[in-house]
């Protein structure tokens, strides 16, 4: 009997457990999932919590309910992986031996990494919405916010769901307008990038949407610290952005056990081959989902598409054959834009988000890079799909690889770069 150990029972870990349990013989492979708790969060739902659209009950379920028979869920903190001994040490003293290991421990917001953030203004005028507790605290703060400067801020890339701060900004604008407060609130979007997004066509489009909404964009802002007393963000090049209400997207880092195990890069993400997700150092360790260092969005859609490719590769790998699947970095994100509309973007390692129709060329029903009600309906429907189709590993009628069919590539002359 061989052991597959999956560290992390989130989006990637749960899908992998389900898909591989169906493929691997029960007498050949035991599958163990390790996580610190039994609460599976639908993280895309956090965005809607500050505006009262979703409540806690709608975004949390138990992890074990989504794991099939024949998968053991171990609730414990991981102390470290010993790759040479092929063992995982848990903080409670237990040791798990593995023949193959999948690291799917995601990425975590780390507000403690920016000086001044977690001091006296934390959860008074400084908030984040990447945890359920943070999103709920922000909901209460927004409730009493009726004037001043709302600053939405990204600390450093990469972040989980890179469109979420834009979505938060669009939703805040619409929410304030609906309450007749928009003209009393100044909204500022502060980013370390040189535009609203890095990919040129989408950056231009999303930047235009910020402009239409009279959101001031402060670009190339690398935050050094927050001064909680004066309520200002301070950058390394000594610019200051004052705030009354700061919504920051903290530095994102992979799990600390990854660093303790010597498996991580400078942000604790696991370096892997970007097409196979196999560790660059060890032949029996994969990293799937946000935990890896692949150069695409840290997002559930990526975890989903990557898992589809990973499962086939994994079966070849354990059979001693070369892996023939090649992940293309496919990401697919709904971007809420307020007033019950959303955009959809679809891209991969090589192709930036482009306008067009999805998933059926010419038909849609989704429009790419365009605000529509159908896209918003798709985003809301996705929560049901996530719990009922995606996590259980049921087939989704979406190809894992990105398709160019139905997209309109930019003419060379209209390609914009973000250089200033």
């Amino acid at each position: 009997m061989k052991n597959l150990v999956i560290l992390g029972g989130g989006t990637a870990g749960t899908m992998i457990a389900n898909k591989l349990r169906a493929k691997l013989g029960r007498h050949d492979w035991a599958i163990t999932v390790v996580d610190r708790d039994d609460a599976h969060h639908y993280q895309p739902g956090y965005l809607f919590i500050p505006f009262g659209t979703y409540t806690r009950d709608q975004v949390v379920r138990s992890r074990h309910a989504f794991l099939p028979d024949g998968v053991e869920l171990v609730l414990a903190e991981v102390d470290r992986v010993d790759p040479d001994a092929h063992q995982v040490h848990l903080e409670d003293g237990r040791t798990l031996a593995y023949d193959q290991l999948v690291i799917a421990s995601g990425t975590t917001p780390r507000p403690d990494q920016t000086p001044g953030v977690m001091e006296e203004e934390w959860h008074r005028s400084i908030f984040e919405f990447y945890t359920l507790e943070g999103a709920e605290a922000l909901r209460d703060a927004l409730d009493g916010f009726d004037r001043g400067r709302l600053v939405v801020h990204i600390t450093e890339m990469p972040i989980k769901c890179p469109v979420a701060p834009l979505e938060f900004t669009f939703l805040a604008d619409a929410w304030l307008r609906a309450r007749g407060l928009r003209d009393r609130v100044e909204i500022v979007y502060v980013t370390p990038l040189d535009g609203a997004f890095t990919k040129p066509v989408a950056a231009e489009h999303l930047g235009g949407m910020l402009e239409e909404r009279k959101v001031h964009v402060e670009t190339d802002f690398m935050v050094e610290s927050v001064d909680p007393e004066r309520k200002v963000l301070v950058s390394y090049d000594e610019r200051e952005v004052p705030f009354d209400l700061l919504v920051t997207v903290p530095l994102n880092m992979g799990a600390d056990f990854v660093a303790r195990s010597g498996l991580g890069d400078e942000l604790n993400f696991v370096p892997v081959d970007k097409h196979t997700l196999l560790s660059k150092k060890y032949d029996d360790i994969f990293a799937v989902g946000d935990a890896s260092d692949i150069p695409t969005s840290k997002a559930g859609s990526v975890a989903h598409f990557a898992t589809e490719v990973f499962v086939g590769n994994f079966l070849e790998h354990i059979a001693g054959r070369p892996m023939t699947g090649s992940f293309d970095g496919h990401a697919n994100c709904f971007v809420e834009s307020g007033d019950d509309k959303a955009l959809l973007i679809d891209f991969n390692y090589d192709t930036e988000p482009l306008p067009g129709k999805y998933p059926l060329p010419g038909v849609g029903p989704m429009d790419l890079l365009k605000e529509t009600r159908a896209n918003h309906a798709g985003k809301l429907a996705f929560r049901w799909i996530y719990w009922n189709v995606l996590l259980p590993g049921r087939p989704m009628p979406l190809p894992a690889h990105m398709s160019m069919v139905g997209k309109r590539p930019p003419a060379a002359a209209t390609t914009h770069t973000q250089e200033d």
Binding site: M157, T198, K199, M222, E224, Y236, P295, T296
Partner: protein
């Protein structure tokens, strides 16, 4: 792929002037590139540039500011002093490497 002449050498560059062929670079060229963007190279500047050059072949991509600060031990604040305003891009430009990937 366009080419340009820097310090008497013909080199391959992208649309924004970043060199595209790792082995076409030399420290002499680096100095010329630095001068073009108003950076006068000192030992401290070279420490950062040499780290970027040695890190690139191993990693297959240009080190981010965070990587330079954590792995090479040069504080981010100092990088902003050495290469004002846009240190990540300026360092990549001088080192003859692609712009570091920002977000995806």
């Amino acid at each position: 792929m366009p080419t340009t002449t820097i310090g008497g050498h013909e080199v391959h560059v992208d649309d924004e002037g970043f060199m595209t062929v790792y082995d076409e670079w030399s420290e002499e060229l680096g100095k010329e590139l630095a001068a073009q963007i108003g950076v006068d190279m000192t030992d401290e500047h070279w420490a950062a540039i040499r780290f970027l050059r040695s890190d690139f072949p191993e990693q297959g991509e240009t080190a981010t500011l965070r990587r330079v600060s954590t792995v090479a031990g040069i504080p981010t604040k100092q990088l902003f002093t050495l290469f004002p305003k846009k240190p990540a891009k300026k360092m990549a430009y001088i080192a003859g490497l692609p712009k570091p990937r920002g977000c995806v």
